[in-house]
């Protein structure tokens, strides 16, 4: 099989591309968590605001990724960053918002109201309630949102190769332009494996971070 031979001969390059991919997705997810979780918490305080924010986030997410890249290029060209790393990160951050905001919001809204009443009745402030009760209980669902976002972003980051952001998508784009099935398959397999591994790692992280009192099967 030519593909296996190709993979064997290009392991260092595959590794470099994988790191590029992880770096691109990682940095955008960290930014997305830093914006998405606080927004998700904030909108629990107003139903009307929550509806608006969630609908806008959902609508933005329906825009095809390559179209979003396309829309960003002319805007960012003004600061000389039309293609490359920055537009890719911005697009990924935008895409990651919906799953993270939605899951944070839903999870906190689903916390049993009697727990909230007990917490307030015992004299917890808003921040203490978040820290001791709401966030720990919401955590598994929030991590699921992050999982969705990571899997989605690994897929979008593969397409970002077309705006010069590198990553594993490069194998696919070269494979297509050079009609080289070896590179095509290498890229497809590598990016799929990365997505699956990331998904399972976050699943493990969720189990690890969830309080034993909340696990369904101890």
């Amino acid at each position: 099989m030519g593909t296996f031979q190709f993979i064997g001969e290009n392991l260092p390059l595959i590794w470099t591309r994988t790191l590029e991919h992880i770096w691109l997705v990682g940095i955008s997810i960290v930014i997305a968590i830093c914006t998405g979780v606080p927004i998700g918490i904030l909108i629990t305080r107003s139903r009307a605001l929550a509806d608006r924010v969630l609908y806008v986030a959902a609508a933005v997410m329906t825009i095809p990724s390559i179209a979003l890249f396309g829309l960003l290029i002319p805007v960012l060209s003004k600061i000389g960053q039309g293609i490359g790393f920055l537009p890719a990160v911005i697009a990924l951050v935008i895409y990651a918002q919906l799953p993270i905001i939605r899951n944070t919001y839903t999870a906190i809204m689903n916390v049993d109201p009697s727990l909230r009443e007990a917490a307030v009745g015992m004299g917890m402030t808003f921040l203490q309630r978040l820290r001791h009760v709401e966030l720990p209980i919401a955590l598994p669902v929030i991590i699921n949102g992050v999982r969705n976002a990571v899997v989605l972003n690994i897929a979008v980051a593969a397409i970002a190769t077309y705006i010069g952001a590198g990553g594993l998508g490069t194998f696919i784009s070269r494979g297509i332009s050079q009609t080289d099935p070896r590179q095509l398959l290498t890229g497809a397999i590598a990016v799929s494996v990365l997505a699956i591994v990331a998904d399972f790692s976050l699943l493990a992280l969720r189990r690890y971070l969830t309080s034993p009192g909340l696990r369904t099967n101890p």
Binding site: S114, E117, A118, G123, M124, V133, S211, P212, G213
Partner: protein, 367 residues
């Protein structure tokens, strides 16, 4: 201890609580009672300011609570709710120590206290401290709920239908445990309930609410004996006299220092004692005064011999610390009209009769 002064809460055009004034003395268990929507829960939640009063004041230990910060106030008041509200992400130990931790108490000290408190409600600390709420039964969870409210040793305890979601058998047990705990800790408790039986059992004071107004505030026996109007009479139920049986101890209803005989007395002596006191029966006691049996006047009149040869076994005994409900129940189940009353050691202390009980209950109606 807790004084409500013309306390009023209006939600829009609806007045949920309307000018309630009452004084809950220190160490009292005050049950707020009434049908749903009568304002009892709103009244209670204004005490720890989960609901802010529209007008009126609340004083705890003479201090106007509106001058205190709501969070500080709440940490000084224990709070138990029907849904229990144990935090599922925390162990039992950490749940109990929530308020001590919020107050920044020494961790070791508060953990030690958590263990002591668990023992008070018959939960083994070595088993339960490390468990999570989901690993406990409903009844165990509610015990922890009560213990959690007591952890920071607040002088005041608010309880919102705390035993409402527990099955009837466990509810009785937990109520009894709570009474024992309360006898020891002597907190001032405000307790919301819609269950008149629970109120009669637990309360030192009952406040009956209707449409936001405080209708009657009194000791349970007085409310049962003298309901202020038809609403209260209906609410406490047509069987309110039977309910009162619960509130009277056998010791308070029995005939004390009764005459008795011992095994060696002659039958003539027994007959003479019965006739002298106008009785048709007499109890035989042992050498140190324990109730051993009884004789009936008709069975021994004119016979010779000693008491010990003719004695019959007592159909039933009742402890002086039992309530009259149990006494009456024992009378019906044994088909007798009187019962010998003994103390915990079995010493004969007196007797209760059906006639005596009805006179006692009747007397307070005529007052």
């Amino acid at each position: 201890m807790i004084r409500l002064d013309r306390l009023t809460k209006a939600f829009g055009s609806v007045t949920a609580v309307d000018g309630v004034t009452m004084d809950v003395p220190s160490g009292a268990v005050c049950v707020l009672l009434g049908p749903s929507g009568c304002g009892k829960t709103t009244t209670m939640k204004m005490i720890n300011r989960l609901i802010t009063p529209t007008s009126g004041k609340i004083f705890i230990d003479g201090r106007d609570t509106s001058t205190l910060d709501a969070v500080t106030l709440r940490r000084s008041i224990g709070y138990v709710i029907q849904q229990i509200g144990l935090f599922p992400n925390k162990t039992i130990e950490d749940n109990i120590c929530v308020v001590p931790d919020l107050l920044g108490w020494d961790r070791k000290k508060s953990r030690k206290r958590a263990a002591e408190l668990l023992e008070l409600v018959n939960l083994d600390p070595s088993v339960f401290l490390r468990r999570y709420p989901k690993e406990l039964s409903g009844g165990q969870q509610q015990r922890v709920g009560v213990v959690r409210a007591l952890a920071a040793d607040p002088p005041v305890l608010l309880m919102d239908e705390p035993f409402g979601a527990i099955d009837p058998i466990n509810r009785e047990v937990i109520q009894d445990e709570f009474m024992k705990l309360q006898a020891e800790l002597k907190k001032t408790v405000v307790f919301v309930s819609h269950d008149i039986d629970e109120a009669v059992k637990m309360a030192s004071h009952i406040a009956i609410f209707r449409d936001g107004k405080l209708i009657q505030f009194d000791k349970p026996d007085h409310i049962l004996a003298n309901p202020i109007d038809n609403f209260v009479a209906d609410f406490v139920g047509g069987d309110r006299t039977l309910k009162r049986l619960r509130l009277v101890k056998v010791a308070d209803a029995m005939q004390v220092a009764p005459v008795s005989v011992v095994a060696g007395d002659s039958l003539e002596t027994a007959v003479a004692r019965m006739e002298a006191n106008n009785h048709t029966t007499i109890v035989m006691v042992g050498p140190r005064g324990r109730a051993r049996g009884f004789l009936h006047l008709n069975d021994i009149r004119g016979k010779g011999g000693v008491v010990g040869d003719h004695v019959e076994t007592l159909p039933g005994l009742i402890n002086v610390n039992d309530d009259l409900r149990n006494a009456v129940s024992a009378m019906f189940s044994h088909g007798v009209t009187w019962l010998a009353c003994v103390d915990d050691e079995g010493f004969y202390k007196g007797y209760v009769t059906q006639r005596g009980i009805s006179q006692l209950l009747g007397a307070s109606y005529r007052e």
